[in-house]
C-alpha cells in the first residue's frame, strides 16, 4: 500500500480523493510538524496523503469582477507579492512563518489546519472570504467563518478539498493588521487583530474586527460590528469603552507555552481601542 498519491491533474486528484480518502497535502508545513518524523524515519501520518501542491490548476491567482481567486495551492510567497491580493492579506501572509516556509505553505493549508492562531484565516475572515470546495459531485462555496467550526475542525466532507479561496472585490476603505507573535520573525501568533472600516463623512459605514488566537476559532462578532456601523465619529469616541467592553466577554484566550490568557485579553482589547482611535484620527 502506498503512503501518498501524486495526481497529474485536478480531476485525477478529485478521483483519488473520493476513491482513497487520502488527506489533502499542500505545503506540508503543518502536516509535517504535526506528524513529525525523527531523522531516518517516516512521518507518522495516519492516512495516505494526496499531494496537491504541484497542481498548476490550483496555483493560480486571478481577479475578476467578483473578487480575487486564490488557488488552494498558491504559495504564500506568491500571494504576498501578487497585485491582485488585498494589501491586508499580503501583509498578513508576509508576516507568516519564514521565507523558506512561505515557499511551501499555502492558504488552503492554513485554512485546512483550522487553528485559531492561523494568521491568514484571521484576515480572510475579516475580508469576508469564501472557500470553494470541490468534489466529483460538484462544487460548493462557503463563507470561511462557516467552514471552520472549531480547533482543527471544518465542515469539509471526505471526498472534498478546497479548490480556491475567493476574496470579494468590494472591501472597506481602511484596514489595520497587527500580529503579536512570539518574536519578530518565524513566529506563531500570541494574538492578532485584522481590522477594517469605512468612514465616510464622519460616519462609520463599515466596521470589522477579527481576533486570532484568543478563542477556539477566530473571533468575529457581526452583531457587535452592526452596533458600531452608523455611528458618527463623535459617538464612536464616546462609545469606545462601551465597544471594548462589549467585545471583552467574547475574547476567551487560554494560557499555553507561548503566552498567558490575561495578556492575550488585555493586548487584544488595547489593540481594538487603538484601532478605534486610529479611525477617529482619520489618519
Amino acid at each position: 500500500m502506498t503512503d501518498s498519491y501524486y495526481p497529474k491533474s485536478l480531476s485525477e486528484a478529485l478521483e483519488l480523493r473520493r476513491e482513497t480518502g487520502a488527506i489533502p497535502f499542500a505545503g506540508g508545513t503543518d502536516l509535517m510538524v504535526r506528524f513529525r518524523a525523527q531523522a531516518g524515519t517516516l512521518p507518522k501520518l495516519p492516512h495516505p496523503v494526496l499531494f496537491l501542491g504541484h497542481l498548476e490548476e490550483l496555483r493560480q491567482i486571478s481577479m475578476d469582477s467578483s473578487g480575487t481567486h486564490i488557488g488552494a495551492s498558491a504559495l504564500l510567497s506568491d500571494i504576498g507579492v501578487s497585485e491582485h491580493v488585498h494589501p491586508m492579506l499580503s501583509e498578513t501572509v508576509m508576516l507568516m512563518a519564514s521565507p523558506p516556509l512561505r515557499n511551501l505553505a499555502t492558504l488552503a493549508g492554513n485554512i485546512g489546519n483550522a487553528s485559531p492562531a492561523g494568521d491568514a484565516v484571521c484576515s480572510l475572515i475579516a475580508l469576508d472570504a469564501s472557500v470553494v470546495l470541490a468534489s466529483l459531485s460538484g462544487e460548493r462555496t462557503l463563507l470561511l467563518e462557516e467552514f471552520i467550526t472549531g480547533p482543527g475542525k471544518t465542515v469539509m466532507k471526505s471526498d472534498e478539498f478546497i479548490r480556491e479561496i475567493v476574496v470579494p472585490a468590494d472591501q472597506p476603505d481602511r484596514y489595520w493588521y497587527r500580529k503579536v507573535g512570539t518574536r519578530k520573525a518565524n513566529a506563531l501568533s500570541k494574538l492578532s487583530l485584522s481590522a477594517m472600516a469605512t468612514v465616510h463623512e464622519h460616519r462609520v459605514q463599515d466596521f470589522r474586527a477579527a481576533f486570532g488566537a484568543v478563542g477556539p476559532v477566530v473571533i468575529r462578532r457581526r452583531d457587535l460590528e452592526a452596533q458600531v456601523r452608523g455611528m458618527t465619529l463623535d459617538q464612536l469616541s464616546r462609545e469606545t469603552e462601551g465597544i471594548v467592553d462589549a467585545y471583552r466577554p467574547h475574547i476567551i484566550p487560554i494560557d499555553d507555552q507561548r503566552s498567558q490568557a490575561v495578556y492575550r485579553l488585555q493586548a487584544s482589547l488595547n489593540l481594538l481601542r487603538r484601532w478605534i482611535d486610529l479611525l477617529m484620527q482619520g489618519g
Binding site: 506540508g28 509535517m32 510538524v33 531523522a39 512563518a97 519564514s98 523558506p100 516556509l101 515557499n103 520573525a185
Partner: protein
C-alpha cells in the same frame, strides 16, 4: 514504495522510496549529500535549506514524493556555480562562519535571496535570512557576508 524522479543538482535521478519520506533524509542517506543538516526537523531552523525550483525551502518539511519533476539544488551543487562560489567566498571574507552548522542553510537562503534581490538592503537581507537560525554569530557577520556577495556580483 514509489518510483520518484526529480532533478538533483542538474542531473535527473530516480529513487524508490515511500513518498512521504523527508527529502532531507533522502539527500543525506541515499545521496550522501550532508551539507543540508537537521537542526530541528520542524521547519524552525533552516539548517536543512535547499533550493526547490530556484527557491529556498526547508527540506525537512518536504516529502520526496511531492517533488516529482522538480529541480532540487543542494549546497553540493550550488558550490560549483559562480554564484555559489561568490557567496561562500564572501562568507569566508566576512567572518560569517563560526561553528558552521547553520552556514550551509544560510548560504542557500542567501542564494535564493540574491536571485530575487541582486542588490539587497540590509533590511532585505535580514528578512531573507529570517528563517535561518544561528546561535553563534548574532547574525551581523552573516548579513555582511550576503551584502558583500551581492557587491562582488557587480564587480565591486
Amino acid at each position: 514504495m514509489d518510483s520518484i524522479t526529480f532533478r538533483l543538482n542538474g542531473t535527473e535521478v530516480t529513487i524508490t522510496s515511500p513518498g512521504t519520506r523527508r527529502l532531507l533524509d533522502v539527500l543525506r542517506e541515499d545521496f550522501s549529500m550532508t551539507a543540508a543538516k537537521e537542526g530541528c526537523g520542524e521547519g524552525e531552523c533552516g539548517a536543512c535549506s535547499v533550493l526547490k525550483d530556484g527557491r529556498v525551502v526547508n527540506s525537512c518539511m518536504v516529502p520526496v514524493g511531492s517533488i516529482q519533476g522538480c529541480e532540487i539544488v543542494t549546497l553540493e551543487g550550488l558550490r560549483e556555480s559562480e554564484q555559489g562560489k561568490r557567496i561562500i567566498d564572501a562568507f569566508v571574507q566576512s567572518g560569517s562562519v563560526q561553528c558552521g552548522f547553520c552556514t550551509p542553510g544560510m548560504v542557500m537562503a542567501a542564494a535564493s535571496l540574491l536571485a530575487e534581490h541582486p542588490r539587497p538592503s540590509e533590511a532585505e537581507v535580514r528578512e531573507g535570512l529570517s528563517g535561518n537560525l544561528c546561535r553563534c554569530t548574532g547574525y551581523d557577520a552573516i548579513v555582511r557576508g550576503v551584502i558583500l556577495a551581492s557587491r562582488e556580483g557587480e564587480g565591486l
